[in-house]
Symmetry: C2
DNA sequence: GTCTATACGCGGATAGAC
DNA sequence: GTCTATCCGCGTATAGAC
C-alpha cells in the first residue's frame, strides 16, 4: 500500500475539519476544497466517505503508536510525557494530537472510531502501569490525561494542571 | 413556560438516541418514532431541529444544576459524590447522567452544547474548590471525573477507579 | 489523475386535512 | 394536537470527458 502525497493532504484536511467543526458536519465537498482538489478528485483516492474514515483511523492508530513509543523512550518518563503533551498540544497542535482529537470526536458517532480510541487509551494505560508499578497510580494519571482531553474537546483548557505536573505525579503515587 | 408531558417524552427519546447513536445520525423521523409520534407531531412541539437541541440543552442545564445542589448537600461531600456518580451512573443511567453524556456528545459538533458543557464543568470545579480548599486538589478531582466521562463516551469503563474512590481522594489532597 | 455534470436518496420543513 | 402528503435543498456517488 503506497502513500502518494495527495492522499495525505486529503487526510490532513479531513482531520482538520473534524477537529474544528466536528464530524458529520464535514462534507466531502468541504474536505476536497480544503485539500485543493475537487469532489471527483477526492473520490478517486478514497472511493467513499467510509473509506476516508478508514484512512483517518489507520493513520491515527499509527501516529499514536509512534507517540507511545516516543514516550517510552523519553527521559522524563511515560507519565510525565503523557500529562505534559495532553496539556501542551492543544496549543502546539502536532499531527498526533490533531489525529487523536479527531478520533475522539468521531468516536461519538462511529463505533469503529470508538474502538480505535479505546485501543489507544488502553495502550497508554498499559505503558503507565508498566512504568509506575502501582495500578491505581497508573489509572489515576491516565484518568487525569483523559480528562484534559475531554476539556480540550469541549473548548476548555487545563492550565492549572499543566503548571503542576510534577506535583500531580507526586500525589498520584502511593504515600 | 409550561411543561406538557409530551415535550418531555420527545426530549427523552432525543437524548437517548444521541447517547446511543451519537448526534447527527439522529433524524427527526427517528426521534419522533422513538417518542411515539409522527414527524409532524414532533414539529408541532419543537418547530425545528434547532429548537429541539435548545430544549435538550436547557433541560440538561437544569438537571445538572439540581445534581450539583444535591452534591453540595450530600453528607459524603461534593468530591466523593462527583467521582462516585461518574463511575456508577454509566450503569445506573439516571436522567442527569444521560443528559450530560448527550451534552458532551453534542459538544463535538454544536458550539452551544460545548458552551453548556463548559458551564457544567465549571460549576463542579467551583464546588470542588470550595469544598477542598486547595485548588490543585480540586482540579485534580475534577480532571479524574472528566476522564471517567470521556471513557464512558468512548465505551470504556473505569471500574478500577470506582473501587478506590476514598484512596483517590486521599491522594488528591496535599501531603 | 483530476475535473464537470448529473442521478439519486434522504432529511428538514411546510401545508393542510382531521 | 397530531397526522399525511409534499416540496426543497444538500450530500453521496457515478459517468464520462479531458
Amino acid at each position: 500500500m503506497p502513500r502518494p502525497s495527495q492522499r495525505d493532504r486529503i487526510l490532513d484536511a479531513y482531520t482538520e475539519l473534524v477537529v474544528t467543526s466536528g464530524p458529520e458536519t464535514v462534507t466531502l465537498e468541504a474536505v476536497a476544497t480544503a485539500a485543493g482538489v475537487s469532489k471527483g478528485g477526492l473520490l478517486y483516492h478514497f472511493g467513499s466517505r467510509e473509506a476516508l474514515l478508514e484512512g483517518l483511523l489507520e493513520r491515527a492508530r499509527g501516529l499514536n503508536a509512534d507517540d507511545l513509543a516516543a514516550a517510552r523512550a523519553a527521559p522524563e518518563g511515560v507519565a510525565h510525557y503523557y500529562l505534559r503533551t495532553s496539556v501542551d498540544e492543544p496549543v502546539a497542535g502536532s499531527p498526533v494530537y490533531r489525529a487523536t482529537v479527531a478520533l475522539i470526536k468521531l468516536a461519538t458517532t462511529e463505533p469503529r472510531a470508538a474502538e480505535a480510541t479505546r485501543a489507544c487509551l488502553a495502550g497508554w494505560r498499559a505503558a503507565l502501569t508498566e512504568e509506575l508499578g502501582d495500578p491505581l497510580s497508573a489509572d489515576l494519571v491516565a484518568a487525569v490525561g483523559d480528562g484534559i482531553y475531554l476539556r480540550a474537546i469541549v473548548g476548555d483548557s487545563s492550565e492549572g494542571l499543566g503548571a503542576a505536573i510534577d506535583e500531580v505525579l507526586r500525589r498520584a503515587s502511593p504515600r
